[in-house]
């Protein structure tokens, strides 16, 4: 995989699946994201870290337009994000999102949570959608809970359901917004294991997380963000052993 990345720098034969060029975003007067440039290749796994308030969540939320950017371009799988709602819906259907607080639909059963997108967005027949859903529930080891409601599950189980819900849409890219930050320590591992399994299968992933162990073992590239900028990006071994910038060094010294 790394080979391909080096290839890319010399020739532009492989289209990136996510391409962000010169993107800026403001909240009112506050400049949250400044001149973001990022290319994500298919099957690439990127971990984004940085202090709180550095704009890392905002960055990945821009990729499926939960946040609007004001300048620059974001192209996802060949579709540019503009105000065109049809394009936005198309991109959202292709991009899976996992939230810090799971955001399952509490009034629907686990199975209904999973089939909702395929049935209403992909127009799949109910039966086929349920079969796919059960397959993914088994994959995240939670098939026996299919008929329960989210409120009956633990945090770790809910987050695994949330991952399965995204997978049912067969996404091209998965975005994870601090997926383990709201979990009790003993539940973090079960969620990380699912994510590692996904990575091994070649899913393209952008992960905002503070789990540096996950970054070291899974990421192809680690991005360090501070104050709305991408300060540094590198392969994980270089990033952790030999950080280039003072700000990165300071951050790493605080969390490791």
């Amino acid at each position: 995989m790394n080979d391909r990345k080096f290839e890319k720098s010399s020739e532009k034969s492989v289209e990136p699946i996510v391409e962000i060029v010169g993107m800026h975003k403001w909240y009112g007067d506050f400049h949250v994201l400044s001149d973001i440039n990022l290319k994500v290749q298919e099957r690439e796994k990127i971990v984004i870290c940085g202090p709180s308030g550095s704009g890392k969540s905002t960055l990945i939320r821009c990729i499926n337009r939960l946040e609007e950017h004001q300048r620059g371009r974001i192209v996802v799988n060949g579709t540019e994000l503009t105000n065109d709602i049809k394009n936005i819906e198309k991109v959202r259907a292709e991009v899976g999102m996992v939230f810090q607080h799971f955001n399952l639909f509490p009034h629907l059963t686990i199975l209904e949570n999973l089939t909702l997108g395929p049935i209403w967005v992909r127009k799949k027949p109910k039966k086929a959608a349920e079969e796919t859903a059960m397959m993914y529930l088994e994959k995240v080891n939670i098939a026996e809970q299919a008929q329960k409601f989210p409120g009956q599950l633990s945090g770790g189980q809910q987050q695994r359901v949330a991952i399965a819900r995204s997978l049912c849409m067969h996404p091209e890219v998965m975005l994870f917004d601090e997926p383990t930050s709201a979990l009790d320590p003993e539940m973090i591992k079960e969620v990380l294991d699912v994510m590692i399994g996904l990575a091994e299968e070649g899913m393209t992933m952008l992960v905002v997380t503070h789990e540096m162990g996950f970054a070291k073992s899974v990421a192809d590239r680690v991005l360090f963000m501070d104050d709305g900028e991408i300060v540094e990006q590198n392969r994980p071994d270089h990033f952790f052993d030999n950080p280039q910038h003072e700000r990165t060094k300071l951050f790493l010294s605080q969390i490791l």
Binding site: E94, N103, P106, H107, G117, W120, P150, G151
Partner: protein, 363 residues
């Protein structure tokens, strides 16, 4: 150390003052000195009030005798009801045709009762409603199958009350939801239109709306065109109730966390799908208690149509009591009416509590 300790521990019974009848009395009636005092005062009041009430209502009362029989007794004169029941319930509906509104009401109530179970909410039930409503309309108005036409001016009594409140609620609920969504719209024109509507309607009493609909509204219509009086009252009730529903629903919408919108949107659901499948089902569930409160008052407020000379069941009762023969029996007639209203309201509120329980998925 690891063997279960419960098996070896002596299993003592709780103190006798905590269980059984004594326990119940102790816990519910005499747990503190002021609760004991309240219990005793309540018992004393009941002892003072209940026997005379029972004596008046059941022992000394006249149940079926003629009005004259009431003059000889001290008790309640219940016979006012059986002697006037046809007029109280059906009002001015023509003599001999009362079976028609009776059948229509029976049809409406049985359909409502049948529809109470959520698993029966299918499209076939919708068709059943449509057909039944048509049948009810035919029964009430007549004009075919040899049934003489009964103008809406003659519709009165309980059928009128039920009709005004049923259609009032059924139409006001979706209208209220749309107003609530409109008030949260990002489009300024729609938003301000909804705000103006809601605030204007909530700023005036229902009585004034009814007056407007019956007196002012016809003035604006071109000559020769009239809109039925019952229909005008019906529309006024719907518009009034919808404004209140809208604000309650808006409260429910505001209670929805942003994460629910975001999760739905990131699946690629459209705005309409997000609202219909994710947001409204949850928001409407949260606001069941206040919504039912509004529907109950809408039901009772239909009695205000009396001021535009429609004869609902309260008015037909009053008319009955204006007959000199029965003037003295107003208490009895109003108790009967109260029980009638209570039966409907209680049915609605207990159904809403059941619905809340069924829809509850938080554990």
């Amino acid at each position: 150390m690891s063997e279960p300790t419960t098996s070896r521990r002596a299993q003592l019974k709780p103190p006798v003052t905590d269980i059984g009848v004594i326990g119940w009395f102790h816990k519910n009636l005499f747990n503190t000195w002021y609760n004991s005092l309240l219990t005793i005062i309540t018992l004393a009041l009941l002892a003072a009030l209940l026997p005379p009430l029972i004596k008046w209502a059941f022992i000394d009362s006249v149940w079926y005798g003629p009005a004259a029989a009431c003059h000889d007794v001290d008790g309640a004169c219940w016979s006012v009801i059986p002697h006037n029941i046809r007029f109280i319930i059906f009002g001015f509906f023509p003599e001999g045709q009362a079976w028609r509104p009776a059948l229509a009401m029976f049809l409406l109530l049985s359909l409502v009762v049948y529809s109470r179970k959520r698993e029966r909410w299918r499209s076939s039930l919708g068709w059943l409603w449509l057909i039944s409503l048509t049948v009810m309309g035919i029964l009430m108005y007549g004009g075919i199958f040899g049934m003489p036409v009964v103008e809406t001016a003659q519709w009165s009594g309980l059928p009128l009350t039920l009709m005004l409140s049923f259609f009032g609620m059924v139409a006001a609920y979706p209208l209220g939801i749309m107003l609530a969504l409109g008030r949260r719209s990002r489009m300024p024109a729609i938003k301000s239109l909804c705000i103006v509507y809601i605030e204007m309607i909530r700023g005036v009493p229902l009585i004034s709306l009814l007056f407007m609909s019956s007196i002012m509204f016809p003035l604006f219509l071109p000559e020769g065109i009239t809109i039925n009086k019952v229909l005008r009252a019906q529309i006024a009730i719907i518009l009034f109730t919808a404004a209140y529903i809208a604000e309650v629903v808006r409260g429910g919408l505001q209670a929805m966390p942003r994460g629910q919108y975001e999760a739905a949107e990131s699946l690629g659901l459209t705005f309409n799908q997000t609202m219909r499948l994710i947001i409204l089902p949850q928001a409407l569930k949260i606001v069941i208690p206040p919504t039912v409160g509004i529907l109950l008052s809408a039901f009772k407020d239909t009695s205000l149509v009396v001021i535009i000379a429609l004869y609902d069941v309260l008015k037909t009762t009053k008319v009955t009591l204006s007959n000199p023969k029965w003037t003295g029996c107003s208490t009895e007639a109003y108790i009967f009416l109260a029980l009638l209203y209570f039966a409907f309201c209680y049915a609605m509120s207990s159904y809403s509590r059941r619905l809340e329980k069924e829809l509850d998925t938080s554990y």
